[in-house]
Subunit: 339 residues, 2 copies
DNA sequence: CTGTTAGCGCTTTCAG
DNA sequence: CTGAAAGCGCTAACAG
């Protein structure tokens, strides 16, 4: 039991050559059905398990995808991972999951590890500390397909699967404006991340369309953790100037904000309206009337996996890269209008 | 860039032997500091990335853990995975995540794949369809350490990291009894899973302690999805006989039950009390006064990973297996008592 | 249809 | 301290 049988053991037992065994196990058409059966039976009998390591080394293919996310337990990412795993599994691929914990240094070391493991493709949602893509060069240089998802990359030559953040930001803001809100604060994230840049741009565009002057002080930049949302909301409530509404660029911060509001015994959306870019089911449970811009982690995961698998199977990475933009839909759970 | 440099390329460029290069890259003490530096520099220069595949094949060690869970996006499991990844990462291990989707067949095929990939250890939370452990024999026969977590295994010779389900079930039920509830329904899961068996046993024990007769009709067995909880609660509400309280063996079903109750305009816990075995933050958000038996996915994941890593590093799997039992604490968020 | 042979890239004896 | 050589288990030419 200890020393696992190899194809040589099977070959020896059957007095044939190991390459025939290899062919039989790979269901090559160049082996008689008879010998094939004989071999399969003997393999079963010996408790043979093929050594994928050796096979991978030889074939230069691992049937493994590397996935890097900031944090596995965030609902959006775990849904995305679920989607990735599902499509990968159907295609016969495994996924190695790694989390950067929002740290660039960890991300770098992970990327190196994945390249060393010779994964066939890398799917990444970059950390908040990732300001450039230098550490990802090694992936491309190794001819390993790379696909960004959600937290994507604006540099040319890369492929992304993303949410239409601009439109999402625009829709969220316009929705708030149409509800009669004028003074709308935007909770934004690190400006280096495209998603936050674009959501902010959408926010600005909506203001402009409705002839509302953009006030830079109405943009609060944090890391958008729940705590950040809570604190930002506290700040707002202490302002002399009245704020009508908040568009939060993510769900965690929205949750924090909602909790803060509820604690102050104010009403949503009567006293202050909120729209969150959301995938966290909590946010709508905590405030059933919450309007959200919904993004499906599962869908984005499946799409990203399908994309990278196509690159791998075709042995070709598009030089110019390509973007797949998924829609994020505004879901209105309360239609009460202001004045 | 296409053909990756190997240690031989480095060796050739430096006019030394590849074994010296190998030693240098592995920081062996049997190489001069000078040559070491020379080699490291050249490696950097050539953009050398070690081929872990080849190394693994030779050393018979992959530094990879296989993890099998029913579904990645369930909050408890994604937390557990996060914990596993964190401890694994610190020890220099990667994790391959697979989901059985509660299907035995998939679980079987996954297990085979992981053995073929020569993972150094397997962590598993079995599917609801898993009635015996035959398909896991191959793991043990391959001398690969195996640790069950949460949904564990009662067969001798296995190692488990688990929640004290009996005590959890007992505490939940006793809590409900002490609140004045007499007629308590228990939502249970497939009886083949130890966790549900034990939670049910705890429920029975608490009834017995307080001299309440056990009524088999008060145990509703489903797969404990949200939908199941909803439907079970509907059934209960339609009963002639009045039910005071429900102890749900998992969080999803509790959420369904709560939604059903709210829809009926009844109050929790005044009209009907609920305690859920829970890790899903939603359940307490949806019903802030909900009492739960809290289990930490993160902690269980970390513990399980640490355990299996110790087996791997010591190259020894305890023959008798061992159980690490973590406590699940009853968290009471509302102390209102019934008459 | 089957066998022979070489080698994927690395580590690890064994010599020196 | 360094080199030579063998081999982990498999696959893929190339012969036959």
């Amino acid at each position: 039991m200890n020393n696992k049988p190899t194809i040589h053991d099977i070959a020896k037992a059957l007095n044939i050559n190991s390459s025939t065994v290899s062919r039989a196990l790979n269901d090559s058409p160049r082996v008689t059905l008879k010998t094939k059966e004989k071999i399969l039976k003997k393999a079963e009998e010996l408790g043979y398990k093929r050594n994928v390591l050796a096979s991978s080394l030889r074939k230069n293919v691992t049937n493994t995808l590397g996935v890097i996310v900031p944090r596995i337990s965030r609902h959006f990412f775990s849904s995305a991972i679920q989607g990735i795993e599902e499509t990968a599994y159907l295609a016969g691929y495994n996924v190695i999951i790694c989390q950067s914990l929002e740290q660039l240094e960890r991300e770098q070391s992970i990327v190196n590890g994945l390249v060393e493991k010779r994964v066939d493709g890398v799917l990444i949602s970059i950390s908040m500390e990732t300001l450039n893509y230098q550490h990802l060069e090694i992936v491309k240089n190794s001819n390993i397909p790379l696909v960004f998802f959600d937290r994507h990359c604006n540099e040319a030559g890369n492929s992304n699967v993303l949410i239409d953040d601009f439109k999402g930001g625009f829709d969220a803001t316009e929705h708030l404006i149409l509800q009669g809100n004028k003074n709308i604060v935007h909770f934004s994230g690190p400006n280096e991340l495209e998603i936050y840049k674009n959501r902010l741009a959408g926010y600005k565009a909506a203001l402009k369309k409705h002839n509302i002057a953009f006030n830079p002080e109405n943009v609060i930049v944090t890391r958008l953790m729940e705590d950040d949302g809570f604190k930002s909301m506290q700040t707002i409530l202490n302002l002399k100037q009245k704020i009508d509404a908040v568009f939060s660029a993510n769900d965690m911060a929205a949750i924090g904000a909602i909790k803060c509001i509820k604690q102050s015994n104010l009403k949503i959306p009567d006293d202050i309206a909120i729209v969150g870019f959301s995938n966290e089911p909590i946010s709508t449970v905590i405030e059933p009337s919450l309007t959200t811009i919904d993004q499906s982690g599962l869908e984005i995961g499946k799409t990203a996996a399908a994309l990278i698998l196509s690159y791998i199977e075709n042995k070709q990475i598009p030089e110019k890269g390509e973007n797949i933009v998924l829609k994020a839909n505004l879901i209105e759970r309360n239609s009460s209008k202001r004045n």
